[in-house]
Symmetry: C2
């Protein structure tokens, strides 16, 4: 990860969200916090993969963590991620009709 240029923060931000697994996970903890094992069970994702990904999401402030004993509960950062997704929904509806109609 290159963070040495002007847009480094943006780049890291977007890169963190440009991943299906992480987006799926964000979708799951959108309603209520879940711990790592729960996320694995729900998604079918492998444990260490989820762990790696949660670290990234946490590092970039997209999720918050609360440790309860041996469990770690993750919750969505609703302050920015929620409005962000809304904004993109808008954009997608207006400008990206082509997107998702098929492969490029």
């Amino acid at each position: 990860m290159n963070s040495s240029n002007t847009f480094g923060a943006y780049k890291l931000f977007f890169a963190t969200l440009a991943n299906d697994s992480r987006l799926t996970i964000l979708g799951i903890i959108r309603k209520e916090p879940k711990n790592l094992s729960e996320i694995c069970k729900i998604t079918g994702f492998e444990q260490s993969m989820v762990s790696h990904n949660m670290k990234l999401l946490e590092y970039h402030g997209m999720v918050f963590v609360e440790k309860k004993g041996k469990f770690k509960y993750y919750s969505l950062n609703k302050n920015t991620i929620k409005p962000l997704l809304d904004l993109i929904d808008q954009h997608t509806n207006k400008y990206c009709c082509k997107i998702l109609e098929g492969k490029r």
Copy 2:
């Protein structure tokens, strides 16, 4: 590019912005439209690289194009990209103090 899942549109959206060259280009056309050669000159980027990237940006509705003779002028989609960058600035300030302080 996998667009077959629920988050496909998000994924593509973020992936398009998760690139230093493209972010640099967006920064340049933020103020006023520029054609491809101008973008190359200003950035020092190679012509075909810029061409490939502009195609992506256009395809995802992040820039608009106007053809004038043999030139193609690109302008920023200020409807969504501008507020989006603002939102992320906010997020970055609040939650991502760690980001950009060094390598991970």
